[in-house]
Amino acid sequence: MDPQAAKMIGAGIACIGMGGAGVGVGTIFGHYLAAALRNPSAAQGQFGNLIFGFAVTEALGIFSLLIALLLLFAL
């Protein structure tokens, strides 16, 4: 196989990992919304935790995007 083609395919496969991060981020915001509707007065205090959880979850998807970018442009 042409190495360039293999790189492109690898980058595409690496991006599948971002789907997992998508599921995770959706879970975090969905559960936050559900909890916020049950107890709206406590919602504002948990905003920092929400963003922290979002950032940590998103990092894993970002790692797979990084692999894709490395394959496309750096390696």
């Binding site: 920092g48 963003i51 979002f54 970002i62 790692f63 990084l66 970018l69």
Partner: protein
């Protein structure tokens, strides 16, 4: 119509030569200077009157101060407030650079990993050095959580060390990748508009859809620009908390 073209670094004039490398004034440096001037103008303009009932400008400055101060206090306690200048400067600088980057034909400084790595390493080294200076060897309790059964403790410690070491990577790549991916998406959709627009009258009708999407994506990018600056600031606060209060 290359979507990567917008991230090109252009040399304006050389400043110095250092060991075979040229240190030049680039468009990246220009936009950093513009951001710095904007923040200085905002803060100096806001604090010049010091009215009891704040005007618009003063309200913006007070809100951003309170926003970061409350975030830092919640995450790192009142002792963390000695790091307020660091966190506030990082937040304002990244926020202004992100927001300037959304304006068409400008340059997004934070879309270059060298810039974000510099920020992330600044935070990481601050945490390590201050943590060791303040706590001494007790700083390493960070890696040994209490209340974990002894037979899985080595594994947990290994995972904690690895997650601590991968912090600067994720901290910097998150900001960089979000800015890069968002701006590439904008340019790709902009490219659809010009491609369809060149295809004649039917193409003009079809071009309305990507044009509308570009507007919507620009609004989303504005949200992302703010959110990523906030995420960078709140993660800085949480990492600083580890330096101030190690041990879980």
């Amino acid at each position: 119509m290359d979507p990567i073209h917008q991230f090109e670094i252009k040399n304006f004039f050389p400043i110095a030569h250092f060991g075979g490398y040229e240190i030049a004034f680039t468009n990246s440096a220009l936009y950093m200077l513009i951001s710095l001037l904007l923040i200085l103008l905002l803060m100096l303009g806001a604090t010049s009157s010091r009215a009891l009932v704040p005007g618009r400008l003063q309200a913006v400055a007070e809100m951003s101060y309170e926003f970061i101060a409350s975030t830092l206090r919640t995450a790192a306690g009142s002792e963390g407030m000695k790091f307020f200048p660091l966190v506030f400067s990082l937040f304002m600088f990244i926020l202004v650079m992100n927001v300037i980057g959304i304006i068409p034909y400008t340059f997004t400084v934070t879309s270059h990993i060298i810039i974000t790595v510099a920020f992330a390493l600044l935070v990481f080294l601050t945490v390590v050095i201050y943590g060791l200076w303040r706590n001494g060897l007790r700083f390493f309790k960070l890696f040994v959580p209490t209340g974990v059964p002894i037979y899985i403790l080595p594994l947990v410690t290994f995972i904690e060390v690895m997650s601590f070491l991968s912090r600067p990577v994720s901290h910097s790549v998150r900001l960089f990748a979000n800015m890069l991916a968002g701006h590439i998406t904008l340019k790709v959709f902009g490219g659809f508009v010009t491609m369809l627009g060149a295809a004649g009258l039917l193409g003009w009708l079809g071009a309305v859809l990507p044009l509308g999407l570009t507007v919507a994506l620009t609004a989303l990018e504005l949200l992302v620009a703010f959110l990523q600056a906030y995420v960078f600031a709140i993660l800085t606060c949480i990492y600083l908390n580890d330096a101030i209060h190690p041990g879980h």
